[in-house]
Amino acid sequence: MTTETTNRMDLMFRKLKSEGRAALIPFLTVGDPDLNTTLDIIRELEAAGADILELGVPYSDPLADGPVIQRASSRALRGKVHLRTCMETALKARQAGSSLPFILFTYYNPVMQMGLDTFFAELDKHEISGLIIPDLPVEESEDMRRRSSAAGINLIPLVAPTSSERIAKIVSGASGFVYCVSSLGVTGERSSFHTGIDAFLESVREATDLPIAVGFGISTGEQVARFARICDGVVVGSAIVRKVEDVIPLLEQPATRAEGLLQIREFVAQLRP
């Protein structure tokens, strides 16, 4: 992270460091249940104390995701939400006053079909600070890394408990933060994490000067607090997506919509470390 950075995510981590706290990073599937609601939910998450936001691009074959995010993807796809609409949603959220750094979480194929030239040109126009591409391991990501770096966008690498000697290669030349996968498996709430989780996080910490965040399976305030003590950021995905799913009936009725949004806000607020 250079001193003259203008990347919102880098600035956020710098601020959090000076305040001595970890980032709360919620994940949302964009367009679940519809795009206007996503904009409203973004506002609620910000009010609830989110520091950075992951915007999940719905995909037909989400290999790294468990059932909760799979269902959210299907709902969003029924509304014809795609990579470009997700970027547009980020820009609209910004225009509506959000100051959150946005990370786009997308599988590689939609990016490839858009074409990398167009993709990067659009990212810049749409206020995106970072990218997570869960099916693009370091061996396949050279071009993506070069372009991200030229565009001033952080390509956030994932490291897993099984990465072991790969960690050094993965974090070298990375930017933004390093995303540590808490457990073997796909996304989804869980009550226990990989047995060597603390040693794993420590080994990532030793390998990089970048902030480290942990995600996959973190669903309660207690779990967030546990990891906030040793990491710079904690990602909560499926638990929030499930909350959204639970309140869809409320969101769909004008009379109860505010109540539905409030429930999401309260859920996220109690996660705050």
Partner: protein
């Protein structure tokens, strides 16, 4: 020709490893184990022993005289993979990967299956080697291939119906990969086709090349020369690549991969990945893919559950682009007609998958001369399909 894949698992621009980081070390470990063991003669001997004594190889290369005469002057041979134990070529690969799993000290195996042939082959090998077996199968396929579900259960496997997506082969593959991510420490994934992340496409090809190796030897014995044309059905493409690979350097040997056109390539109901697909990343590798303009994978359709798949093996994409092999579509109706023709001319009920290859030969053979020799890979037997065929011919639906 250049040797493919390269060290990154690339066949030209296709292949590679597009998977979550959690799987990367497992795939690298698998590749290393495969390379180490395949250099060990004892490993190959163990596989050869089972292929011979257990599966009944070598399979015959049968001159289909009545079919040939019905079609014209060309000589048509059938490579009888349907005569393998469990009724299809899938056992070749399941034995290979099963032995590899055992050598690697794994006690649990998983597999994905569409028509159920690979699931049955894996369940069979798991029983033979004393391993625990889970088979992922789309819920839709468990319905249309109920007999194979029961067969797998008899063999001691657990069949897990997959309810995500289109509930067919592609979703079974997704779910098997997801399960593997969670259980990568003690589980070996026996992938059934020449698809997926490196090293699977290479490994499956090498375990299936016995089809082409035997064919080469047998045709030289029977005819004293190589065939002019090889024809095989392509879903993911394991029987086709196994047949084609040993002939790759023989320029005089033409190759045709036959994919499923379902109700027609100009309808939305087909699985013609090569004819209608574009480059994309799916289930761990770059290849041709049926997808929409946004990069969402579209659902395939075929009367044959084994060809009902929106992707294709990366080596086939490569062979298409370098024009070493040609890929053509055959509709459900054409495949059924060919199936019936083989039944009445030769007394062989082919699998619906293999019937696609026969249908292509039915189309082109009449224009060929008496000097032309065609080999069709008869990848499996049709007993499993009899119910579907009955339903289709009675107009009760086409599933």
């Amino acid at each position: 020709m250049i040797q493919v894949p390269d060290q990154h698992g690339r066949f030209g621009s296709f292949g590679g490893r597009f998977v979550p980081e959690t799987l990367m070390n497992a795939l690298i470990g698998l590749e290393e184990a495969y390379r180490t063991f395949s250099a060990d003669p004892a490993f190959q001997e163990e596989i050869d022993y089972l292929l011979k004594q257990y599966s009944g190889r070598e399979t015959p290369l049968y001159y289909a005289e009545r079919l040939s005469k019905h079609l014209g002057e060309a000589k048509v041979y059938l490579k009888r993979e349907d005569l393998n134990h469990t009724g299809a070529h899938k056992i070749n690969n399941a034995i290979g990967q099963g032995i590899l799993a055992k050598k690697m000290g794994k006690t649990k195996v998983i597999a994905e299956t569409g028509a159920g042939q690979h699931g049955v082959a894996t369940a069979t090998v798991a029983a033979l080697l004393g391993m625990e077996c889970k088979v992922f199968m789309g819920e839709e396929d468990t319905r249309r291939q109920a007999l194979n579900v029961f067969r797998m259960k008899l063999l001691g496997a657990e069949v897990i119906p997959v309810t995500s997506g289109s509930r067919t082969l592609k979703d079974a593959g997704n779910e098997a990969l997801r399960y593997w991510v969670s259980n990568v420490d003690d589980t070996f994934y026996i992938l059934g086709s020449a698809v997926g992340p490196h090293p699977y496409p290479m490994m499956v090809r090498n375990f299936q090349r016995i089809i082409g190796d035997e064919t080469r030897r047998q045709i030289l014995e029977a005819e004293g020369r190589l065939p002019d044309l090889l024809v095989a059905a392509v879903g993911g493409g394991s029987n086709a690549i196994g047949m084609f690979y040993p002939f790759m350097e023989d320029e005089s040997v033409g190759m045709i991969g036959v994919e499923a056109a379902g109700k027609g390539v100009d309808t939305p109901f087909h699985a013609a990945t090569m004819s209608k697909g574009t480059h994309g990343v799916f289930q761990g590798s770059m290849s041709y893919l049926l997808q929409d303009e946004y990069g969402q994978v579209t659902e395939a359709h075929s009367i044959s559950a084994g060809l009902d798949y929106p992707g294709v093996g990366p080596e086939h994409s490569y062979l298409k682009d370098i024009e070493r092999a040609k890929y053509v579509p055959i509709t459900d109706a054409e495949a059924l007609d060919a199936l019936k023709l083989l039944c009445v001319t030769e007394g062989i009920i082919p699998a619906l998958e293999s019937a696609h290859a026969i249908a292509q030969v039915v189309k082109i053979a009449p224009a060929l001369s008496k000097d032309d020799i065609i080999v069709i890979c008869l990848s499996g037997r049709g007993d499993k399909d009899v119910e579907s065929i009955m339903a289709y011919t009675q107009g009760e639906g086409n599933q």
